[in-house]
Amino acid sequence: MGKPATFRIWRGGPDGGGFQQYSTSVEEGMVVLDAIHHVQAEQAPDLAVRWNCKAGKCGSCSAEINGMPRLMCMTRLNELDLDAPVTVEPMHTFPVLRDLVTDVSWNFRAKKTIKRFHPRLPDAPDGTWRIQQADVDRVQEFRKCIECFLCQDVCHVLREHHKHDEFIGPRLLVYAAALEMHPLDTEDRVSDLRHRHNIGYCNITTCCRQVCPESITITENAIIPLKERVVDRYFDPIKSLFHIL
């Protein structure tokens, strides 16, 4: 069966590590995660890797494959050049725990700092709301997010400048957009976006949008409209006057 292929997998922990080369046989239809599992089952039982759904739905298996941030379960081997070794390494923006597993807990803590959903009073006496499909469609795109954090991984504000304490990153800007544009929500997050979450650090490089496995138009549909709200509030002289009053 199958033909041999070589994988350079990063092995190590918080104190350092390096690439190790494994060769395993691959078959038609396989994805990178399958190859990693083969290596794990046959050669390196203690190889650390996260996964759950194997179908691009849970966002667990993020890694950098030949330098590109991707889901291992959705990267087909036939898209890669198998004549050269395939490099698989953990996301760079988060601290390594072991091998391909990184500490992404910061994302969960940062999420808590965003004001929660707060609906308007129900529309109907039975406590339910009436919402048009078009209004649902507008935010549905943001709600597709599987929290793979690949966009966080490529954002230079986090990756190079390590502004984790000041900036919430594209994933959480998408989350804030989903709340801000939710047809029922009444909360105001504009001030937080400017002062607490520093949306201004984003200079629309669109790196995040390019890696999103859910094809969420992160920059154009989420971040730019949020930036516009901030600008309207703080830099439009008339509106900002009203706001201060």
């Binding site: 239809g29 959705m74 999420k111 709600r143």
Partner: protein
């Protein structure tokens, strides 16, 4: 002596899928101190993968629907082995639970007048599934997660529970390790809710993730809780069959709900060939009528593709065995044909089934708007589980509750699609409420320190045995082969007896499993521990399946191919005997009150 990090709660919830999160939210709302433990990161539990929808008789699309019809459908689907009280509560409370999700921010697809849209699904008489395209589970888990993190619960992500601790007959907490660093932890609690999900990893072909090793069932069994209906494992009729590496990944029933049809290699819609008597009246006579049903014609009856999962899975099995299958051992599922009926069919399909479109495009190089898919049965769901009180969800062990897939009762011998997500909400909420009440009425229990130490020692044993001992992945793999081939869709006593012998051998091998490396995020070590749970569960499934000498719902016995009314009066219950042997016994079903019997009769 291994060190333990210690935590103390009123209510400890093990599992952060839909059931666990809903339980934790409810318990926290009473003011209880709540801890939540999960093996993966928050939001990655199995619930995230659910596609089709949440069943609830909201009657937004068809006003003939009501809790009574939903109740009757659930009982019919389960072939009347269901706990009637759970089926009743589920049908009555599901609509309220769905509305609650909306109030917490979930956004479902809408009807033209702006209410929650509902779709058709197998075994449901009317369109009943609230949904968001085909990613309903994601919407549900994210809503619960984002609401839950502000409710004051403490979440321990990537921790695995190794055992439940007991004090004088009641539960006292749990202990386990964190996956990141392999440190031991103790979570003391007055009440514990198990919401650990299912067992699919005991089989080779499954839609389930690595988490589904039956931990909750094994944990409860070891401390004396009763398990029930373990013979009923649901094989979903439509899993992917090609490429090999994605074999088993689910193709949602929503495809058939939207008009997708099943064909064999002769191009025949074979589902019309055999329609069970109790569904004859509700099933379309012609392809034309079936199509009208999927397009919302209230006078049409549903196409046979939407019969219950057990039946559809067996029909597919039959076609494949008879040599009428697809090239890779499945049958054809075709949604692309609707282009003959609908303008802009391709866009319609992409909008209604976006993640299916994406999944096939990406993983199988196939465009479902143009070509048929190849599908075959995949191990999907465990109807059986921990036997609980229908109202409170407490197991036979005081203070130990169970909700969601890990609990038994609601679904009887076969679950209807969409009835799981609603189950999680209804019974997660109940378990949370009653666990908090139990905690309020009971003091903190004492921790059995020697037991704690021996758990840790046993957990570390694979390191002592080292990497040259038995490979844990190999043991797991062999178990999956055996369950798949000997205790699968079609069962026969001689093969299952053989499976029991094999399981004994595997147990011995599991006890010899070893591992190298260290304790930080060591997947091999985790597997060496998990296989013990899978072995307990596999034995329970096999013993219960041998014991039930009839075919009903998900259990099909080649040696007893018919349903037997006598067996319809019993559940099979499994518990641990005094000398660690597995006891299997019949337990008579409680008959429903007259009022509900009348509902069942009226809707038959």
């Amino acid at each position: 002596m291994p060190e333990f990090q210690r935590f103390s709660y009123d209510v400890l919830v093990i599992g952060a899928g839909g059931a666990g999160l809903r339980a934790a939210i409810e318990a926290a709302a009473t003011g209880a101190r709540v801890g939540v433990i999960c093996k993966s990161l928050l939001g990655k539990a199995h619930t995230v993968m659910a596609e089709g929808g949440i069943a609830a008789a909201l009657a937004n699309v068809d006003d003939r629907d009501s809790w009574r019809v939903h109740f009757a459908d659930t009982m019919r689907g389960g072939q009347y082995l269901n706990d009637w009280r759970m089926a009743e509560l589920h049908a009555r409370e599901a609509p309220e639970c769905v509305r609650e999700l909306e109030a917490w921010g979930a956004l479902f697809d809408r009807t033209p007048d702006g209410r929650i849209l509902q779709r058709n699904f197998g075994g449901h008489r009317y369109p009943r599934l609230a949904h968001v395209g085909d990613r309903t589970g994601l919407e549900m888990i994210r809503t619960l997660q984002d609401h839950g993190i502000h409710q004051g619960m403490e979440v321990h992500m990537e921790c695995t529970v190794l055992s439940l601790l007991m004090d004088d007959g009641r539960v006292a907490g749990a202990c386990g390790y964190d996956r990141e660093r392999g440190r031991f932890q103790l979570w003391q609690a007055k009440a514990v809710v198990l919401a650990t999900g299912g067992i699919g990893r005991a089989y080779k072909i499954t839609s389930n993730s690595w988490e589904y090793t039956g931990d909750g069932l094994a944990l409860a069994y070891r401390v004396g809780a009763e398990l029930q209906d373990m013979e009923f494992v649901q094989f979903h009729p439509t899993g992917m069959v090609w490429p090999i590496s994605v074999r088993g990944i689910l193709v949602t029933e929503g495809v058939r709900g939207e008009g997708g049809v099943l064909r064999n290699s002769d191009g025949r819609r074979f589902m019309f060939d055999e329609i069970p008597d109790n569904y004859k009246e509700q099933t379309a006579d012609t392809e034309e009528e079936g199509w009208r049903y999927t397009q919302g014609d209230k006078n049409a009856r549903r196409p046979p593709e939407l019969l219950t999962r057990d039946h559809v899975a067996r029909c597919i099995n039959r076609e494949v065995k008879a040599g009428r299958g697809s090239p890779h051992g499945g049958v054809f599922l075709d949604i692309s044909w609707i282009k003959d009926r609908l303008p802009k069919a391709a866009d319609h399909i992409k909008r209604k089934l976006p993640s299916m479109y994406h999944q096939f495009r990406q993983l199988a190089d196939l465009d479902i708007t143009r070509e048929p898919m190849e599908v075959g049965p995949t191990t999907h769901y465990m109807m059986g589980g921990i036997r609980v009180n229908g109202d409170s969800q407490m197991s036979s062990v005081p203070g130990l509750f169970a909700a969601g897939e890990v609990a038994a009762g609601l679904h009887g011998s076969n679950r209807l699609g969409g009835n799981s997500l609603s189950d999680l909400l209804v019974f997660g909420r109940r378990a949370g409420r009653y666990a908090a009440e139990f905690a309020k009425n009971n003091s903190t229990a004492t921790i059995d320190e020697p037991e704690l130490q021996s758990t840790a020692t046993a957990a570390l044993a694979p390191f002592e045995r080292g990497p040259s001992a038995e490979n844990p992945y190999k043991v797991q793999h062999d178990l999956q082969e055996i369950m798949q081939s000997l205790v699968g869709i079609v069962r026969v006593e001689s093969e299952m007896r053989q499976a029991l012998e094999e399981i004994d051998r595997l147990r011995a091998r599991a006890e010899r499993a070893g591992i190298g490396g260290n304790r930080e995020y060591n997947n091999g070590w985790h597997t060496a521990i998990d296989i013990h749970n899978m072995i307990v569960v596999s034995e329970a499934i096999t013993r219960a399946a041998i014991f039930r000498k009839e075919s009903r719902g998900a259990q099909f016995r080649e040696d007893f191919p018919d349903k037997d009314a006598e067996w319809g009066k019993f559940n099979i219950v499994i518990r641990r005997g005094a000398s660690d042997e597995m006891l299997v016994e019949k337990r008579a079903l409680a008959p429903p009150p007259d009022e509900l019997t009348a509902v069942i009769r009226e809707m038959k």
